[in-house]
């Protein structure tokens, strides 16, 4: 893994940036070479990021979700993987301009964190810790995809309202975006609920801890979002806006440690 050890965050961030450049060109002109640039950049990025995470995992002898730094890189990896699936699945869909900025943003934010993490021993049961970590990780990735779907919904909604159906920013039908949103929201909620529940069972609660408070708030907002999806009269633009609010709250709870100055209790810290 000597080669992998030389890979840095800059490598895959740069690759994703190239891919984003290709996607931006595709908004103005659906050209074959722009799609190749987008695909090539994304594939190079995911390859480098996979090796990077693999090297950390092998070095630590455990899943790379043990620190906030590795958690953010892994969440970015998951959503980039979803982007590549969409890119290969629908060759005219320009999903990268919604997903890649989030993926790049997570990596850049992670790169500012110091220390980047070391293998830590959690407080509780190892199996519960790992399950808690994985559930929250996948749940967070799904919340990000729900946010992306909400953005796509709002753009498509605007396109249709203004009658611009031949916009160069090609998006799926509103109904398809709405279904995608529903699927990820319904999948994310149980994962987040279970993940947070397991996390709370692993340690003693400090209810006034801003981290705990924002996590509970994020869960509350997301639960309200799930409730709204069940009611047809709430569906549509309002739901998309609520998803953006839920995403922001979840993001604050995931990234908030440096803001709150807590640092000692990252979302997935308990994963042994």
């Amino acid at each position: 893994m000597d080669f992998a050890s030389r890979i840095s965050v800059t490598c895959f961030v740069a690759s994703y940036a190239v891919s984003l450049g290709g996607e931006l060109v595709r908004i103005f002109r659906q050209s074959r070479w722009a799609r190749w640039v987008a695909t090539g950049g994304a594939l190079a990025g995911i390859f480098a990021q996979t090796l990077y995470l693999l090297a950390i995992g092998l070095d630590w002898g455990r899943l790379p979700i043990n620190s906030q730094f590795t958690t953010l890189i892994t969440v970015s990896w998951l959503i980039s993987l979803i982007y590549i699936y969409l890119l290969l699945h629908d060759r005219r869909l320009v999903a990268g301009i919604f997903i890649l900025p989030v993926s790049i943003g997570l990596c850049l934010y992670a790169a500012t964190l110091s220390p980047r993490g070391t293998p830590q021993q959690g407080e509780g049961n190892r199996l519960i810790g790992v399950t808690h970590g994985i559930l929250l990780l996948v749940g967070t990735a799904l919340v990000i995809i729900a946010f992306v779907a909400a953005l796509m919904y709002l753009v498509k909604y605007r396109q249709l309202k203004s009658g611009r159906i031949r916009s160069s920013l090609r998006l799926p039908s509103l109904e398809k975006i709405d279904r995608m949103h529903g699927t990820v929201v319904y999948l994310a909620w149980p994962l987040l609920t279970l993940g947070i529940g397991l996390g709370l069972s692993l340690r003693q609660l400090h209810l006034l801890d801003p981290k705990v408070l924002t996590t509970i708030l994020a869960w509350g907002v997301f639960t309200f979002l799930v409730h709204c999806r069940y009611r047809p009269e709430n569906r549509g633009r309002k739901l998309a806006l609520l998803t953006i609010v839920a995403f922001v709250v979840v993001l604050v709870s995931v990234l908030g440690d440096p803001i709150f100055g807590t640092g000692h209790q990252p979302l997935l810290e308990a994963a042994p």
């Binding site: 309202k161 031949r166 039908s173 509103l174 109904e175 569906r235």
Partner: protein, 422 residues
């Protein structure tokens, strides 16, 4: 080689076009007659509602048919005096014929710029000529290239993209909102021609249920029967709107039949379920303020016209790009055919020289009895090298001229200089 094309297109008045068009059976008869009369030539006939064209090709530079001959044949088979339609005919020769067919296949010579239907019609004409065995070494590559050029134009430009009719633009709008239609209910208000036209396009979406609401029962029932819908009386309009996912409205009402204030109540009843409304009536059937409701998309005739206009503008922008492709392909086709033409001449030239070499070697080698076999082999090899070196410059010059499309004079000179007349 001589390529000819005689025909007329949509620019000719329909009363002339309809007299000169061929149906499939007639076209086969025309091909058979042409082959009987000119057995050494190749033919293809392209006949659609917008054009009738005869293509001919002969291997010799001088045509035995001639443009005038094709025109007269046209008049003869249609039993019409040539003078009545001669002014409408266009005539193309050689590269002009290739250029014209490439333009036709790519939709550049169509009434609706970039229309793709003509490509299928060119394929049919080509297949028909193959079936009638009137197509050979010249028209085969010409038609194959035409199909390839059209494909290239459609792939590399946006010339064939977009919707050009109001009804088909409406379908694009609906596809933007909904993904599946089998679970959707469509309400058509009005039973006029526009409603029918949109319904024809709506059928391609295969909606779950179609209802037709109209003031008078008879035309609505008739339309419902023909299009596979269900009649709903106008008195039930409010409930029908509450049930529908898609509404197409085209009544002749003087005032909006659905007002904003009523619509608010309707949306409450619908629990804000999505509704896509296509209002193609003039004056409009739906109050424009309805467009401001959440989860409602209302498009009127102007929105649909905009799509049409944008498609036309976008196709016009692509025209230059398409013409460049066609020019390039025409030049490439010309060069390919020229090389093909010069091939037999070069072949005969080489064969002639080879014969002389063999004769001279047969004279020389028996006189060199004491010479070892490997030395004799070297002499043979020397003779072949000499031939190749002598022939290289004229062959290269002929190929270069063929590439430039200026090979006819040189070919004739070759035939005369080297005694290659057949």
């Amino acid at each position: 080689m001589k390529l000819l094309c005689v025909g007329l297109n949509w620019k000719t008045p329909v009363k002339i076009r309809e007299q000169l068009s061929f149906d499939a059976e007639e076209a086969q008869g025309v091909l058979a007659k042409l082959q009987d009369r000119f057995p050494n030539a190749e033919f293809a006939v392209l006949s659609t509602c917008n054009r009738t064209e005869i293509y001919s090709a002969e291997p010799t530079q001088e045509s035995s048919i001639g443009v005038e001959g094709l025109c007269e044949f046209f008049a003869e088979v249609k039993n019409q005096p040539l003078s009545e339609f001669y002014d409408y005919l266009y005539l193309h020769e050689d590269a002009g014929t290739a250029l014209h067919l490439f333009n036709v296949a790519s939709g550049l010579d169509s009434l609706i710029l970039g229309e793709a239907q003509i490509l299928g019609q060119v394929k049919i004409a080509y297949q028909q000529a193959i079936d009638c065995r009137t197509i050979g070494k010249i028209l085969h590559p010409l038609f194959q290239r035409a199909l390839g050029v059209a494909k290239r134009v459609h792939t590399e430009t946006s010339l064939a993209k977009g919707r050009l009719s109001i009804a088909s633009a409406a379908i694009d709008y609906l596809r933007g909102v909904f993904e599946t239609f089998s679970d959707k209910r469509v309400l058509v208000i009005g039973a006029g021609k526009m409603a029918e036209l949109v319904m024809v396009h709506l059928r391609e979406l295969e909606p779950g249920r179609v209802e037709i609401c109209n003031r008078t029962e008879a035309p609505a029932l008739d339309l419902a029967q023909r299009m596979g819908g269900h009649y709903r009386p106008m008195a039930e309009l409010h409930q029908a709107l509450a049930d529908a996912d898609i509404v197409v409205s085209s009544t002749g009402a003087e005032e909006p039949i659905v007002k904003s204030a009523d619509f608010a109540k309707l949306m409450e009843q619908r629990r804000s379920r999505w509704l896509a409304v296509i209002d193609i009536a003039v004056p409009r059937d739906f109050d424009p303020a309805i467009a401001d409701f959440d989860n409602v998309w209302l498009w009127n005739i102007d929105d649909l016209e905009k799509v049409r206009y944008k498609t036309i503008r976008s196709r016009e922008r692509e025209l230059d790009h398409a013409l460049k492709i066609i020019d390039h392909e025409t030049a490439a086709f010309e060069a390919t055919m020229a090389i093909k033409q010069s091939g037999p001449v070069i072949g005969r030239l080489e064969a002639g020289y080879q014969e002389i070499i063999e004769q001279e070697l047969d004279w020389l080698l028996p006189q060199l009895n004491g010479l070892p076999e490997d030395q004799k082999e070297k002499i043979r090899y020397f003779a072949h090298r000499l031939k190749n070196k002598f022939l290289h410059p004229p062959k290269a010059a002929l190929r270069a001229q063929a590439h430039a499309g200026e090979h006819h004079g040189l070919l004739d000179a070759f035939r005369k200089l080297f005694g290659l007349e057949t």
